[in-house]
Amino acid sequence: MDLKDLYQEIILDHGKNPRNLRKTENFNKDAKGHNPLCGDKVHIFLKIDENKNISDISFEGSGCAISMASASIMTDLMKEKKEKEVKELVEDFLQMIKESPEMKTKIINENEKTKLMSLSGVKQYPMRVKCATLAWHTLTSAMNNSQEETNTEKFD
């Protein structure tokens, strides 16, 4: 196993210069995610139009290169996708990160798949899987317009 597997050019690039790191104006759905073990935080903003298309997506947050890159690549990819497509993509990605050797979806092209596959290096680092999946789980919460913070219970 080579470290380059995980810290590839593309991840370092998105990690250092995350795309869509801003707050969508007039967003109509959002959710916060938190990975308390690492301290990674992400807040996702969505603007969904009348046709159930994502007309804009953005995020705010901080965390390790893997989690920032994952949020950056994910938001890039989701723009202009339909609600149903988003669901399929999230499931396919999580499947790939957990066990599948590749992405199966036909919604995105090979070039886009390659970008996502660059995150598959975390498979060798079980402790880092949560970093790669945080933004994706949070997106699901946002779509469900869940009011609660992903992964964070109320204080006791």
Partner: protein, 405 residues
């Protein structure tokens, strides 16, 4: 694995006691350890040691995987629905304290009742006793019959509208009675009462199927199950672990911590505060492997033959009185000798390398009921043989000779 060669897998039997072969008849107290379990501890500490779940480096990741692997193995071994229904504790005693404390906190009010039996070990009584003082609850004891058994009827008679929990042993560590836990569980559930089984003596000897038994809680001591000391397992239905408050507080079981408040982690972390018994959990995986290699059916058959043989031999010996006469009996043979106190018996047997236990075996209520201050107890493990029971009988005869001088 040939059941007749099992003794060879236990290195302890290469040693002598008072120049005699060791006849170990104290497995209800704690079992001996097979070579593969001891080797696993050794290898883990010398080649792979790291703390679990907290660091991202290589050794830590490997240790975490091994640790969680035992959880899955245990889930399969007892056929639990979900690996998160397996909580590692420091022993069965802690497992029962965990349930009594958290269930008591959340669900018990003054006047509520807990139903135990007269067979219970102190570990399945003292934790409930605390709630008498703290919460003003009442404890009832289902009575044994003349054979030292607890029947379904005895439980049924003792249930009242105020019974909020039934907590009973699977297999008595004194009379050897095996309780009809599946029937008792279904009776309890028909009245909406949760049930805890103290499985200390059940787990090492009997086939376990949590989904079939359907109990709410099942407590296990790993050191009685060919595993390391300092480790126990609490099986609990997920709905309970989700509902009950956390028990001990510390690192690893929290989600977020602020000065004003704390939110707790998901299962299985919620009930595993602080650094866990990493090496012991990993080695216990080998105990499960060991049991699986022999097959619990083979163990049950072997031990039940031995128990019957032991009963026969001791019944033929006129001075021996067996304690209890349950129809469904596990690997425990408790007895008294007329005119010779149990502690004197144990000391004399020990000279011959025969290790038994004497006393009330942490069951004072049962001994009071039986009018006995102490009994002698021979208990069996997978490594025992008929020869061991013959030696027990010989030593008992020697005992009588000394006292008849």
């Amino acid at each position: 694995m040939n059941i007749n060669n099992i003794k060879k897998q236990f290195p302890i039997f290469n040693n002598k006691v008072h120049n005699n072969d060791l006849v170990y008849l104290d497995s209800a107290n704690s079992s001996q350890k097979p070579q593969m379990v001891v080797d696993r501890i050794y290898d883990f500490y010398t080649k792979e040691f790291s703390n679990v779940g907290r660091s991202v480096h290589y050794l830590a990741v490997a240790a975490t995987n091994l640790y969680e692997n035992t959880r899955s193995m245990m889930q399969k071994y007892i056929n639990a629905k979900d690996p998160n229904e397996i909580v590692f504790t420091k022993g069965a005693t802690e497992a029962i304290n965990l349930v009594a404390n958290t269930f008591g906190q959340k669900f018990l009010r003054e006047g509520d009742e807990i139903l135990l039996t007269e067979l219970e070990h102190h570990s399945n009584y003292v934790p409930w006793h605390y709630l008498r003082k703290l919460k003003g609850i009442k404890i009832n004891f289902a009575e044994i019959n003349n054979d030292g058994e607890i029947t379904l009827e005895s439980i049924e008679k003792s249930i009242t509208p105020k019974t909020k929990m039934i907590a009973i042993t699977h297999l008595s560590n004194v009379t050897g009675a095996i309780l009809p836990i599946k029937e008792i569980t279904s009776l309890a559930h028909s009245k909406n009462i949760p049930i805890l089984i103290d499985g200390c003596q059940g787990a090492p000897h009997l086939k376990l199927d949590m989904q079939d038994i359907d109990c709410d809680f099942y407590a296990i001591s790993c050191h009685k199950m060919y595993g390391p000391t300092g480790l126990g397992v609490l099986y609990a239905k997920k709905k309970w672990l989700d509902t009950l408050p956390p028990y001990q507080g510390g690192g690893g079981m929290i989600r977020e911590v602020k000065k004003e408040g704390i939110s707790f982690g998901d299962l299985p972390n919620k009930y595993e505060a602080g650094t866990m018994a990493t090496a012991q959990v990993i080695a216990f995986g080998e105990s499960i492997k060991f049991l699986n290699q022999i097959g619990i059916q083979n163990i049950e058959k072997h031990e039940s033959e031995l128990t019957k043989y032991g009963e026969e031999v001791l019944r033929k010996n006129n001075s021996v009185k067996l304690v209890g006469n349950p129809k469904n009996k596990g690997s425990v043979l408790s007895f008294t000798l007329d005119g010779i106190h149990a502690h004197d018996i144990a000391t004399i047997l020990d000279e011959d390398g025969v290790a038994i236990r004497a006393g009330h075996h942490c069951c004072q209520i049962l001994h009071d009921k039986l009018g006995l201050s102490a009994t002698a107890r021979a208990s069996l493990g997978v490594y025992n043989t008929k020869d061991d029971l013959d030696k027990l009988n010989e030593s008992i005869n020697k005992c009588k000779k000394i006292f008849d001088r």
